[in-house]
Symmetry: C2
Subunit: 290 residues, 2 copies
């Protein structure tokens, strides 16, 4: 934990060599070696409560709004019809589910998290996210997300893959096999949203993924957002629609936003659209329509 200096958490990783973000620790609340990964929760001096998996910051109380809101509301607001049934793969902290439940049309959220340790740590230590677990709309599955999706066909309006990085328990969520399962689990006009790394650090990985995703989905876009405690201060999502004619960059049913906006910190329909506009170095490499 104190790779750089006593009293600090330092996020060293081979995924971003030669750079390191550190947070000052106020108090360590939980340390566990689960069946799948190392789980750490601490109170930081300036970013509130922090969840760390295998040495990588997943969420801080101060900036998690950016990730959770954009990951949930971009695909949900991009749908032409009201979302009813949503699936989250990973996301055991409950943050994305919290956001999905802000859409009153949603009847069921299936959360499939492989590591019960993450769910339990959130229930105990992450009060800003764990209210999700009390919702009667939530169906919690402690199960392998790749297998879960194979067992569900044509049934979700939206699938959200809130995974950690491709090193560790989430590695199977970054290949073509998994994207095919996602497509099949979606209903006719369904939308997939996946965590897809940082354009600044992992453009090669992102471009490699794009190459196979465009063979699976007829409609693929890449969205990027600002989030201070992720490496490079940015993270992206692939937004893939089975409906070729749906312009996912446009937020639909804006009356939903008007009714929900007092509960939001980050997402808005303008940001929904602008998150798809990439810097030249990224749009050139990815070659996706902007």
């Amino acid at each position: 934990m104190n790779a750089l200096k006593e009293g600090w958490f330092s996020e060293l990783s081979t995924m971003w060599p030669g750079e390191c973000f550190s947070l000052k620790v106020k108090q360590v609340l939980h340390e566990e070696k689960s069946k799948f990964q190392d789980i750490l929760v601490f109170d930081s001096e300036n970013y509130g409560r922090v969840l760390v998996l295998d040495g990588v910051i997943q969420q801080t109380e101060r900036d998690e709004c950016a990730y959770q809101e954009m990951m949930a509301h971009i695909p949900l607001a991009a749908l032409k019809t009201d979302p009813k049934k949503v699936c989250v793969i990973g996301g055991g902290d409950g943050g994305v589910v919290r956001e999905i439940l802000k859409h009153p049309s949603v009847e069921e959220v299936h959360l499939c998290e492989i590591d019960e340790g993450v769910v339990n740590a959130s229930k105990k230590f992450l009060p800003h996210m764990n209210m999700s677990f009390e919702s009667p709309k939530l169906k919690l599955h402690i199960y392998d997300g790749a297998v879960f999706l194979k067992e569900h066909k044509n049934c979700f309006d939206v699938v959200i893959v809130d995974s950690s990085d491709p090193v560790g328990p989430a590695s199977s969520l970054f290949g073509p096999e998994f994207y095919k399962s996602c497509k099949e689990a979606l209903n006719e006009n369904g939308i997939l949203c996946t965590q897809a790394e940082s354009m600044w650090l992992h453009l090669d990985i992102i471009a490699g993924m794009k190459d196979f995703i465009v063979d699976i989905f007829p409609n693929v876009s890449y969205s990027t957002i600002s989030i201070p405690t992720y490496p490079s201060g940015a993270i992206g999502f692939f937004i893939c629609s089975k409906d070729e004619s749906n312009d996912v960059k446009v937020a639909k049913r804006t009356e939903w936003f008007e009714s929900a906006k007092d509960t939001l910190q980050y997402y808005n329909p303008g940001l929904h659209a602008s998150s798809f506009v990439l810097p030249l170095f990224a749009s050139r490499r990815l070659g996706l329509k902007q």
Copy 2:
């Protein structure tokens, strides 16, 4: 330099307590205590050459394109007419001037940098930026920017304030007196672009500045960009126009972009517009039209 660990540069500051970004150092090239500040240039393992002033990263070779291109091209492309005379306050590394010179209509760039040490360090150690100093269009002034602007009235199409943070030699560039001088130095429809901190870290400072800037300029907007090696991975600009009717969010004369785009890595007209779309937490606080 090695506040956290030997062999790393760590950016600790009271401006962002409790967090710290570190870069692995390959070789220190230059260390100097100038009349105004500590100047450090090093080769990093993964971000190329790095310029540091008073312990704060100013530019790295890998991501400086974001800052320099957006800081120069947003105000220049926002003008309704071709820019001819531009002034840069600070920016002694030459990066912003390099971008300004990509507009062939520009006849004169006045670079007013208080610290000759920065200019000399750039000339010697920052080859990706120092070509600016060879241009016959450049007029270099080693001088106090606040005084320089008071001595120039109604003469610039664009003034760009490429300053360090409000602690240190740039502190006078963050008050109303300075913004009044900027306004007077601009010609009738001129545009001011100033470095204006991170919405994630310094929203109070930004909101405080906005309060006095809207009393000085009739047309004020805030733009934010993604840049990994600045604290929080984001930095913003105030874009202030003397022309109330000019929608600065719209890039004009896009034929310029078409002719210049092969020399750009980051800026494009879509990103110009989308950089003004803020997350809810920031737009609520700043209360500026989006």
